[in-house]
């Protein structure tokens, strides 16, 4: 079995979720690496979209900024943020990847503040940007993050981006489009989805070297277990080779 690091397995796992012909809205960093890996392996027709307006680029190398001209290299369109958001609103975007400082058991995300006082928080993060809009309107939202009790919390300090809200049918009832919502959470220790009725986070797969207990010990709320928890397929030689040599040769992301 080839050697790989935490970032590499997360990127490979995420890439496998993106089927050929799908559309995915990404930012820079690990999600972009995952989309590029998918494009160079099983999904040559993957349509990658960047929030600043790049549509379907064939990325030559990792863009460092969403405003980077690489985001529309060999693209079919250099559009605008208004166009990209319009595509999301209309249901044309299948997947998106988001991050955040905190996530709760329903996949609600905080990328706004740490602390009680919204006016003068303890820590001020960058903010929603398009994250809220992407997660509101794309069909399936995925999160790539490290498994850690400070991130997986019982209650987020601020709901920047809605997940399944308070579970059950609360998301659809709130007015968000039915059928959209958090789909998978990909961490260094395993993969989680959301149980279909309660919409609570549920472990479906554990990465090699980890058990359900590892995930639970590094999570601030009770995780559900899928009826059958499988082991995550480790990165293959081919995936690692393309990831290291073509997607991220300068190790911007996989070297973190």
């Amino acid at each position: 079995m080839p050697d790989y690091n935490t970032m590499e397995i997360m990127i490979c796992v995420a890439a496998r979720e993106l089927e050929d012909g799908a559309t995915v809205g990404v930012g820079t960093g690990a999600p972009c690496a995952a989309a590029m890996l998918a494009q160079k392996t099983h999904s040559p027709n993957l349509v990658i979209m960047f929030e600043a307006g790049g549509v379907s680029p064939l990325l030559p190398e990792m863009p460092i900024s969403v405003g980077d001209s690489r985001t529309f290299y060999k693209a079919v369109m250099a559009s605008s943020m208004c166009d990209i958001m319009g595509a999301c609103s209309r249901g044309f975007v299948d997947y998106t990847f988001l991050g955040g400082a905190q996530i709760d058991m329903y996949g609600n995300l905080n990328s706004t503040i740490i602390g009680e006082n919204h006016r003068k928080p303890k820590v001020r993060f960058p903010g929603s940007g398009g994250a809220n809009d992407f997660a509101s309107f794309c069909w399936k939202t995925m999160v790539m993050t490290l498994q850690d009790v400070r991130r997986f919390v019982p209650k987020v300090d601020f709901v920047t981006t809605p997940g399944w809200l308070t579970g059950g049918d609360s998301r659809a009832k709130s007015g968000l489009p039915a059928g959209t919502g958090p789909y998978k959470i990909i961490t260094n220790m395993g993969i989680m989805d959301f149980e279909s009725r309660s919409k609570r986070m549920r472990v479906i797969s554990v990465n090699p070297g980890y058990s359900f207990k590892h995930l639970q010990d590094n999570c601030g709320f009770e995780l559900l277990r899928a009826p059958k928890i499988v082991q995550t397929k480790p990165p293959t030689e081919e995936e690692l080779c393309i990831l290291r040599e073509e997607v991220d040769p300068y190790r911007y992301v996989i070297g973190r």
């Binding site: 820079t28 960093g29 960047f50 929030e51 600043a52 307006g53 790049g54 030559p60 460092i64 900024s65 969403v66 405003g67 980077d68 001209s69 690489r70 985001t71 529309f72 290299y73 250099a78 559009s79 605008s80 943020m81 208004c82 958001m85 999301c88 609103s89 609600n108 706004t112 919204h118 006016r119 003068k120 928080p121 303890k122 820590v123 001020r124 993060f125 960058p126 903010g127 929603s128 940007g129 398009g130 994250a131 809220n132 809009d133 509101s136 309107f137 601020f158 709901v159 920047t160 981006t161 809605p162 809200l165 609360s170 998301r171 709130s174 007015g175 968000l176 489009p177 911007y252």
Partner: protein
């Protein structure tokens, strides 16, 4: 009648931008911010501005650090791979700079409402987010008069001035862009006055050759300023990439309020051509242009 001429100098921005104005700033992430105009705002000591940005980076961080803002409306401010925006964080965490955080699409829809001359536009979000709760003056729940559906109304955003950077313009103010446009066009439509810095001012014949590249027509432009490398240290796609070396240097200076003052002295409080010398002059410019070409033709 003589041909109209909207070309001004950087120092002419004070004819349009006044203390206390609401200023929409174009560009997004580390791309296409009107940085020469931003520096000129600081040099001119214009103050008490409300900045409106969708995705800000060094533009917003610089204005905050230099003390030009009294309020900030934004959806995102970050230095991306280079870290969190240092002055933005300090101002909010330590000094309580008043701010309005709304989502990216909400800023766009607010600007679209401004650009269509209506007080609001409805959309399907951001339901379930605390952002709605904290910003009742911007978001209101409404019922569709046709279908009865629950929607959210985003209030119109009408900036006093919009400032953007573009590739070229003629002297009458037809603005051409050649890359992704972020939210620049929506800002230009919504604002009461508009200033555009461009890499070059060209004869109108050049504009006529490629009318499809004109993204803002002259009747929506009040002043054109020729500012080569005017987006530096952010990029001007597809002509030059952002200057990662300078941004790293900026992050070092901005690490404390004390050292940031030195950045303002060393790089901002001098004529624009001296700024371009300070960042490495023609040599650095040619590196940034070459990197952009390599991406383009790779």
């Amino acid at each position: 009648m003589p041909i109209e001429n909207k070309v001004g100098k950087l120092s002419d921005i004070t004819k349009i931008i006044k203390d206390g104005d609401k200023v929409a700033i174009g560009g997004s992430w580390l791309g296409g911010h009107p940085m020469a105009i931003i520096r000129e705002i600081i040099r001119s000591k214009i103050k008490d501005l409300t900045a409106i940005t969708v995705v800000g980076s060094i533009d917003i961080d610089l204005l905050i650090g230099a003390g030009c803002l009294k309020r900030l409306m934004f959806s995102f401010v970050s230095m991306e791979a280079f870290g969190l925006a240092p002055n933005f964080r300090r101002a909010i965490e330590k000094e309580g700079l008043p701010y309005d955080e709304i989502t990216g699409l909400a800023v766009i829809i607010g600007l679209e409402a401004g650009g269509r001359n209506v007080p609001f536009l409805p959309y399907r979000g951001p339901f379930g987010s605390d952002l709605v709760k904290y910003r009742p003056e911007f978001y209101k729940n409404i019922k569709c008069p046709f279908t009865g559906e629950e929607l959210i109304a985003a209030a119109a955003i009408v900036p006093d001035v919009a400032i953007i950077h573009a590739v070229r313009a003629d002297k009458t103010g037809n603005i051409q862009m050649e890359g992704t446009t972020g939210t620049d066009i929506e800002m230009m439509r919504a604002a009461k006055k508009r200033i555009v810095s461009v890499e070059e001012v060209v004869p109108s014949e050049e504009i006529w050759k490629h009318p499809e590249k004109t993204k803002v027509p002259k009747f929506q432009v009040d002043m054109v300023i020729e500012a080569p490398l005017g987006a530096h240290p952010t990029s001007c796609a597809p002509h030059y990439v952002f200057d990662a070396w300078h941004i790293m240097k900026y992050m070092e200076y901005a690490a404390s309020a004390e050292t940031f003052k030195k950045y303002v002295q060393d790089y901002v409080m001098k004529p624009e051509w001296e700024y371009l010398e300070a960042i490495g002059g023609m040599r650095q410019a040619s590196i940034l242009r070459r990197l952009a070409r390599e991406v383009k033709f790779l």
